[in-house]
Symmetry: C2
Subunit: 122 residues, 2 copies
């Protein structure tokens, strides 16, 4: 039961695409991550996912359009919807999603895939 | 499926202590609210509650200590824990909590109580 300062936590995270748990409530995790360039297309079968931009610019590409996010803006990707996050060129991002969420979702496991049970906590 | 700009939404909210739904995911609501001065002591029997400060200063008084929040900081109040939010003197706050959450929790219904099924959506 400590408060969390987003900027302070982000100074400790250096690796891109490595979501770090900074809060937990109601079976959901609050995570912080550095995004760097383009990620992979993927979806989450059962989990809705919130992206909130702390700094930088982030595009959430959907199959039919692109959502452009600036700091202070968020977008919720419903479960089952394919998306591809692209930072322009970098972004600090807060994620909110169920604890079970796999970061690369339905994509084939790749260099970014992190087991949700083995994520760092700060 | 639209993005949400916190500041834009907050310009539309004028009444204090009236949480407004701006997002929904995984059975949880993202809400925005204006806090003005001191609220009432209360708890939520089953819901954990996240307070993220967008602007202003917010103290979350607990029975044994006070959490002081500035913009860019959040605090999670676990279910069952009595708390009293106090804005100094005002704050813009993002809340994250289950859709079932009653804003005044276990406190006797008062002028601030809002039926969770009748909250405004923006």
């Amino acid at each position: 039961m400590e408060k969390v300062n987003l900027k302070e936590k982000l100074t400790i995270i250096d690796q891109p695409w490595s979501p770090t748990i900074v809060g937990e409530l109601n079976g959901q995790y609050v995570k912080l991550a550095r995004f760097d360039g383009a990620y992979v297309w993927h979806a989450h079968e059962t989990e809705d996912e919130l992206f909130y931009v702390v700094s930088g610019r982030l595009n959430i590409e959907l199959r039919d359009r692109t959502i452009e996010l600036a700091p202070g803006e968020f977008f919720i990707v419903p479960h089952g919807v394919e998306h591809k996050p692209v930072a322009l060129p970098k972004a600090e991002v807060l994620l909110f999603e169920p604890a079970s969420t796999l970061n690369t979702g339905t994509a084939q496991a790749n260099q970014w895939t992190r087991n949700p049970e083995e994520l760092d906590r700060l």
